[in-house]
Amino acid sequence: MGLVMNAQLRQRLLALRGTTRTAPGIGNGFGVLPAVLPLGIAAIDTMLGGGLMRGALHEISAPAETHTAAATGFALGLAALGGATRATRTPSPRRGEGWGEGVLPSPLPAPPHPTSRSLSSGRASRGPAGSVDLSPLGRGEKRSVLWIAEEMARAESGAPHGAGLDAFGLAPERLLTVTVSHRRDLLWGMEEALRCRAVGVVIGEMRPGKIDEIAVRRLSLAAGESGALALLLRAAPAADSSTAATRWIVGAASSAIAHGPGAPRIAAHLVRNRRGPAGSWILEWSDSDERFILATHAQPVAAPAFDRPHRQVA
């Protein structure tokens, strides 16, 4: 009886996964990560085609150097969502339903995908063997976050503070920090970390300046092979072209409340998106849910003509 229910549940999960997924799970270990990392905000996830693509490089830059903390917050939020959640957390039924990764699946009916059916049936037919990638608490619980930064960037913007990270949903014991003195060491370190199966998210922080296009391409490839999320944190928006899957400019946003600063709030501009249009949102990190929520707009933000994300959320 239990076995039958289990099988049914698995079928359902696979079906759910198949609809939102654009590519089969990636990863070279036993644990297979879903191909996308949903932010849990329908408006953004649909634009990104289900969520932030794993196994790809994403660029996050601050509009100016003073806004680095906001950009850091966005990157760390993604890292917290992307698998390095606190080890002690028990998955609530709402969250556990989706990926076993502690994130919400997109509540929207996702756009139909041509390969979804064949994919899900193919996976389901594997029977018990298919259960490896459905372990109740994803491998994400075990994966580390590696934050590699240039020495000067750390001196300028400050070192990561464990107590603050912990509040941001990222357990400090999962974090490895590395400082390098040269940019080539930064790129080398990121690539090494991306090739390591035990690392789920790699954050590379650099000072304003140019970056070698070939190196970025290499990083994208390394991320693609391992399925890890690569985030490049830049102190100023880059003028050069890049092979990054998405490019974000993330700055601080004023909190709406009159008395005292509120929850972490950022203005995120998606300026380049390989799989869809660009857009701007104001996001707030919700401490209780440990995810981003769409903030009530303090200032009007122009939304793309065809999409009204705030209406759908409201």
């Binding site: 400050g158 400082t179 008395h259 600063p261």
Partner: protein
Amino acid sequence: MLSLWLRRLSTDRIVRLRDSSPSPRVAGRSEERAPLVVTGKRGNVEVLTAVDEAAGRLGLSPGLTLAQARAMHPGIDVVAEDIEADTVLLESIADWFLRYTPLVACDAPDGLLLDISGCSHLYGGERALVADLSGRLEHAGFAYSLAIAGTIGAAWAAAHYGKPANHSGGEERALLAPLPLSALRIPPVTAASLARVGLKRIGDILDLPRAPLTARFGSDVLRQLDRALGHEHEPLTPRLPVAPYVAEQRFAEPIAREDDILAVARRLARRLQFALERRGDGARRIELTLFRTDGMVRRIAAGTSRPLRDPDDIRGLFVERLAALADAFDPGFGFDMARLSVIVAEPCPPQQIGIGGGEDEAELCRLIDRLSARLGARRVQRLTAQDSHIPEAAEAALPAQAVNGDAGWTAFRRYREETALSPRPLRLLTRPEPIEAVAEVPDGPPLRFRWRRALHEVVAAEGPERIEGAWWSEHGGPARDYFRVEDKSGLRFWLFRAGLYRDLVPGSPAPTWFLHGTFA
């Protein structure tokens, strides 16, 4: 025991240096060279501390004042002494002779002691070893004398005063008897007072009653005699710690290519693996010693984050180390010997290989080791919670190779729950930066402040959170009032005022403001 005395270490060093210098003015053949003396200040007088062979033939000797020497031979070449350079040279020669035995001790200022017991057969006997060693020394241009004997004392005495020869154990009496008493390594004062009563050679005191000797000249003389005769054990303090596991290989042809060196490291690691497994140990710190044909020794060490045995992992560490050294790793004409030693070993519990988290854990350790080997262990860090309430001391970033477990964060979370700790910034500046701030009321949050030459208008503030300084310590600093403020553009900062108006002594300046961290 082999005692080596480099008779003219200082002058040999200077001559070697000049020979290798490209300038034609100083380079010349030894026959044309003026007698060389090295001088140093002793008390208020400039005296000769070392003389080369030519100067020795002229009758100059260490201890002579420079003025006298100049009066005797105006043409001498005078060089100031450099004790540090001599020590460095002696140490590098000691490293060079690590090829014969791991137990090499410096016998300052100009000697070396090598414990070759159990090692000489590797060279085909003591005679062959001495021949090999002498050949290398002569080739390098050092004047030396050496002797092998059963005890340190006897070998030293024979090297410095006797005829260079091999003396096996048990012959110490015969060897020492004709030598002067100063060969016992006793202070010159004691030797002089012994000479006053007619005791000049070691043979003179060998059979004397012990009690009166001790009563008159102290216990030092007899202890040194006992040590030289082997009645009392004399410890040898090796210059470098002796590794618990060592494997080495010599090459018929010198190797210089990186691939070859790594292949050798792997082969040696494979040999060590068996020894490590037998004793249930794993390596925490490994050193690869490469002996260059010209006597230079390269030591490359690498640390690990967990006890390691796998040859491929060990090879991987040296791949990164060699890459980090890059051009500084100069193989010259090649290396003719390599040695891999495990300097620090730790028990390594046998592990089940298979499905489970252990695999990922091992992968992460491998990554940490690789990054540490390439970038340096201090650059790869983990955050640890410390037992302090002062923000900059509450956390420490420690080398990831040294941190295990949860690093105090479980305790920190409990503390945060209990005390309802107010929000902490995401990034903390390495040291608080002073800012110019204007506050509406003395104890209140600032209205505006200037940080890094930019003016920030505060629109919202939260605080204060008062954090006392370490009042029990002299370096504790004043109490701080922390504020969380937001400026017009939405940037959020963590500021504090160092010192309270309450504690202000009339006449002293107002407390200063600092910026300590930034929030997302």
